[in-house]
Symmetry: C2
Subunit: 339 residues, 2 copies
C-alpha cells in the first residue's frame, strides 16, 4: 500500500490568492488496479497562470476548480503499475494528474495519458516548450497573428513559458520579435539567449506615455501582431503603436486576475487601426496539437527553441511557487519536481 500526498483547494481567494487557500492531504492508493487502469508516479507538475482564474467561482471558459478536491494541472511521470495493454511499467507519460504524487488513470479514456519519448526532449519539456505552453504560443502566433516576413510581433511576459516560445517561433518565420518582461535580467535573457530583437522592461515605464515611447523606439516600423499574456498598461501602449490590420492574440490577462478588471483605455484604436483581436484557449483546438507538437519537438531537439525552467522541490512547495508565479518571481516555466 502506497501513501499519496495531494494538495487541495480549500477556500477561494478574496482578492489575492494566498497559501491558506491550499491544504495538503494524505491519502492511500488502492492496493490493486482495475482492468484498464494505470498507476503513474509524477516526476514534474506544471504551475500555470490559468490556474488562478479557475480558483474563482466565476463563469469562465473552464469550470471552476472544485473545493476540497486535488488541484488540477498538467503532469509528467512514469508508469509504475499497469493493467492497460497500451502502457507498460517504465513508460514516460504526459497527463493531467494534478497536484499530487501519484495518480490512478483510466488509460482507456482518450486524451487522459500520452506516451512520450525522452530521447531528444527532456521529460519536463513536455510541460513547457513541447507541451501546453508551447502549443499555446504556436496557436496564437500561427493561427491568429500569422506574421509575414519582416513584420513586427510584440510579446508580453516574454521570458515566460509561452512568451519565450512565441518570440522564437516568430523569428523562425522571419519576423521581428520584441518582448516585454520585468527587470533587466529577464530582458537580457530574452534578447541575448532567446534571440529577440529587443525587450522592454515594463518596470521602467509606469505610465502610458513612457511605455508608448519605449515601444516606438523598439518597434520603429510599428507593431503588426501582439501576443498578449498580461493586459493592462502594456496592451494600452501597444494599441497606440499598431499598424493598420494588426492582429492581437489574446491569451492571458494576468494583471487582472486579482480583484478588479483592468479597463482597456482606448478601445477606439481597435477601430481606427482596423485591428483584429481574438481570445483563445488552446485546449479548444486539439486538432492542431499534433502539428504544433511536431514542430516544437523538432525545434527543441535541434536546439533552435530554448527555454528556461524554475523548479520548486517537493509537493509542499507548490502553493508558494504558484503564488510567486502570479507575481512574476519565476524565470521561465515554473515546475514542481517530485522525484
Amino acid at each position: 500500500m502506497t501513501i499519496n500526498h495531494q494538495i487541495h483547494l480549500v477556500s477561494r481567494p478574496a482578492g489575492e490568492a494566498v497559501a491558506d487557500n491550499f491544504h495538503m492531504v494524505r491519502t492511500r492508493l488502492p492496493t490493486t488496479l482495475a482492468d484498464g487502469q494505470v498507476l503513474v508516479r509524477h516526476h514534474y507538475m506544471s504551475l500555470d497562470p490559468y490556474m488562478r482564474g479557475r480558483m474563482n467561482d466565476a463563469k469562465s471558459y473552464a469550470a471552476p476548480q472544485p473545493l476540497n478536491e486535488v488541484m488540477q494541472g498538467g503532469t509528467v511521470g512514469e508508469v509504475v503499475d499497469s493493467k492497460s495493454p497500451a502502457f507498460a511499467v517504465g513508460d514516460k507519460v504526459v497527463g493531467m494528474g494534478g497536484w499530487q504524487e501519484y495518480q490512478v488513470v483510466d488509460a482507456g479514456k482518450p486524451g487522459m495519458l500520452r506516451k512520450v519519448s525522452t530521447e531528444h526532449v527532456p521529460l519536463s519539456a513536455y510541460l513547457g516548450a513541447v507541451g501546453m505552453p508551447g502549443v499555446t504560443a504556436w496557436y496564437g502566433l500561427t493561427q491568429i497573428i500569422a506574421p509575414k516576413e519582416g513584420q513586427t510581433v510584440l510579446v508580453s511576459a516574454a521570458s515566460g513559458a509561452v512568451g519565450s516560445a512565441v518570440g522564437q517561433l516568430a523569428k523562425v518565420r522571419g519576423a521581428r520579435a520584441v518582448g516585454i518582461a520585468g527587470g533587466p535580467q529577464k530582458c537580457a535573457y530574452v534578447v541575448d539567449e532567446l534571440g529577440f530583437d529587443a525587450c522592454i522592461d515594463y518596470r521602467q515605464h509606469a505610465d502610458l506615455k513612457s511605455f508608448s515611447q519605449a515601444l516606438k523606439q523598439a518597434c520603429p516600423d510599428g507593431i503588426d501582431g501582439v501576443f498578449e499574456n498580461v493586459g493592462g498598461l502594456g496592451l494600452d501602449a501597444a494599441l497606440q503603436r499598431m499598424n493598420a490590420f494588426g492582429r492581437i492574440a489574446l491569451c492571458g490577462m494576468i494583471a487582472g486576475y486579482d480583484g478588479q478588471p483592468i479597463p482597456l483605455q482606448q478601445p477606439q484604436l481597435l477601430l481606427t487601426h482596423r485591428l483584429r483581436l481574438e481570445g483563445f484557449i488552446v485546449s479548444e483546438h486539439m486538432e492542431l496539437w499534433p502539428q504544433a507538437l511536431t514542430e516544437l519537438a523538432t525545434l527543441v531537439g535541434t536546439g533552435k527553441l530554448k527555454y528556461r525552467e524554475t523548479v520548486a522541490e517537493g509537493l509542499a512547495a507548490a502553493p508558494e511557487a504558484f503564488l510567486g508565479l502570479l507575481k512574476g518571481r519565476n524565470f521561465g516555466k515554473q515546475l514542481v519536481k517530485l522525484v
Copy 2:
C-alpha cells in the same frame, strides 16, 4: 456662369463640434468643362458619424478633413453638363461631391462617379440602404459576424442608417435581431416597422448592471454577434452577455468622438468568452461592394429592406443637422436636400 455654395471646415473642434467650425463660401463654377469632365448638380448630401472623426487632426484611418476646404462626403445628383463619353446630361449619379451644390468631376478617374438607376430604388437611398451605410451593414454582418440561423445579433444605433440594415439583413438570414436605440419612439420603430425581435432603450439604463440585465431579458440565449456603432456602456454590457466564440464587428465609437476616449471596462471578457473583435472600414473592401449592393438593391426594391430618412433642407442647414446627428437627434439616415 453658375454660382456654387460650399461649406468649409474652418476650425477643429476643441471637444464637442460646434456650428462655428463650419463656414459657408460662395464660389463660381468654370464657364466651360475640360475634356473628360462632368458637372454634377447635387440633389442630396449624406451626413455620417465618421465625419466627426475626420474633423480632428489625429492619426486615423483616413487623412483629416483639411481646413478651409469643402467638407468631404457622399452625394447623389444629376449630370447637368458633360464632356465625358461615359456620362450624359440627365444621368443620375453617386459620388463623393462633398458639402456643396455642384461639383466638377474628372469622370475618367475610377471610383469618382457611378451611374445609378432610380427605377426601383429612390435616388436618396443610394446614400443609405443601397449605399455606404448599407454596404457597411452588409460587410460587418456577413464578413465578420456571419450569424448562423437562430443565433442572436445585437445592433447598437439600431434605428440609424447602418444599424437598421444590420438587423434586417440578420433577419433575412434567419438570425434573431436585437437593437439598442434612444427613446421609446425609435425602439417601437425598430421592432414594429423594421421587424427586430426586441429593442432596448439605452436611456432607461444608466449603469452597467441595469443595461446588462436588460440584455439578459432581450437575449435569453445569449449574444452571438455584436454590430457595434457606439461603444461605451452598451458594449460593456454586451460583453457580459456574449456566448463563447461570439463575434464583434467594430464599426463606430460615436460615444468617444468628443473629447476623451471611453474605456472598455472588462477586456478580460474577450478572453474568457473567446471572442473575435474586428474593426473595419468599408471603403477598404471595395471588391465586395458589387455583391453587397446587388443584395441591398434587390431587398429595397422588393420592400424587404426598410429605412427611414431625416431630411434637412438646403445647404445652410447642413452644420446643425450634422451636430444633431452626433447627438442622435436624427431618425434614420440623415440627409440634406439641395434640389
